[in-house]
Symmetry: C2
Subunit: 201 residues, 2 copies
Amino acid sequence: MTVTDGQRPGRRPGRRPGSADTRGEILAAARRTFAEKGFDKATVRGIARAAGVDPALVHHYFTSKEGVFVAAMELPIVPDEVIPQVLTGPREEMGERLVRFILTVTSDAEARQPLLALVRTAMTNEKAAGMIREFMTHALLLRVAEALDIPPIRMEAAFAQLFGVVLARYVLELEPLASAGVEELVALLAPAVQRYLDGSR
Amino acid sequence: MTVTDGQRPGRRPGRRPGSADTRGEILAAARRTFAEKGFDKATVRGIARAAGVDPALVHHYFTSKEGVFVAAMELPIVPDEVIPQVLTGPREEMGERLVRFILTVTSDAEARQPLLALVRTAMTNEKAAGMIREFMTHALLLRVAEALDIPPIRMEAAFAQLFGVVLARYVLELEPLASAGVEELVALLAPAVQRYLDGSR
């Protein structure tokens, strides 16, 4: 409920449809909407309303609800930035770096929202689960497994540990896990993750 | 679509409302319904319809949708049976027993359904997340942590590992994790879980 509410309803007259700002506002609105409603209940119309633009503009930029979803979801974890960040440094500290990275990113409520929306969606929508699976597998897990020369299943085990912790922390809100600090959890979890990354089997 | 469909719609005339069989059929119908729809979209009316009984009978047995849910969810993992099964035997093999137990239970699609319904529900419904959190914490995690004399957060880390694996396997269907055999995964995951159960700090 800010000053801009006065410009509603519908589109904001003073802005050109093609501006980068409009695209960014649609993506921000989409993240909020998917995080709140999950994929199935969210609509292009609802996202457009939240962004203060015409639904046709959302279709113009992203073709479909799926298109908005993928674009919105790509923002918090950009593989080309994350992977080098985790791989750079001593290999025996990689588990620690990975755990710290995931816990730090997810500590930020705004960064966490789209990730939880993603999981929420995957739980009830097979198409979305497929999108996430393909993204996870090809953009992240296989690339890291290849860089480390370990079997992909070991990356998946490490992912599962961190995935489970994030859900236990922010969805189930199990205590004391939910209130524990990042460094306490790094000390607890990094040895398990490191073991998966060490390879062999 | 069996012969009993001929007895519909509404209640089945030949059965007494108080029979154990009716209660069991309502619970079975509730598990199917929650697994399909999650908690929010499932209705007492829908569960009653799936069981072929009057909605009033569902209310009579379980008071509310929440009541049906808790009763239906308690069935696959009964703490009083599971905990001794995991605790009995050499402590250094406890991680292995726990991993094998969880992977074996979840290998069965019928046992898995209610667990996934539970998670699906928790993702979108705070009340359900609260129910699960309380059930998990008081009926399972704290009891095992106390029996093993380890900090509860270590049980939560072990739980998170297995929770993440089950979701990666059956919701995201990440490969090769989804197709891996139980014993292959026991070998991969048990050392991490055992480390959590070994305690200290």
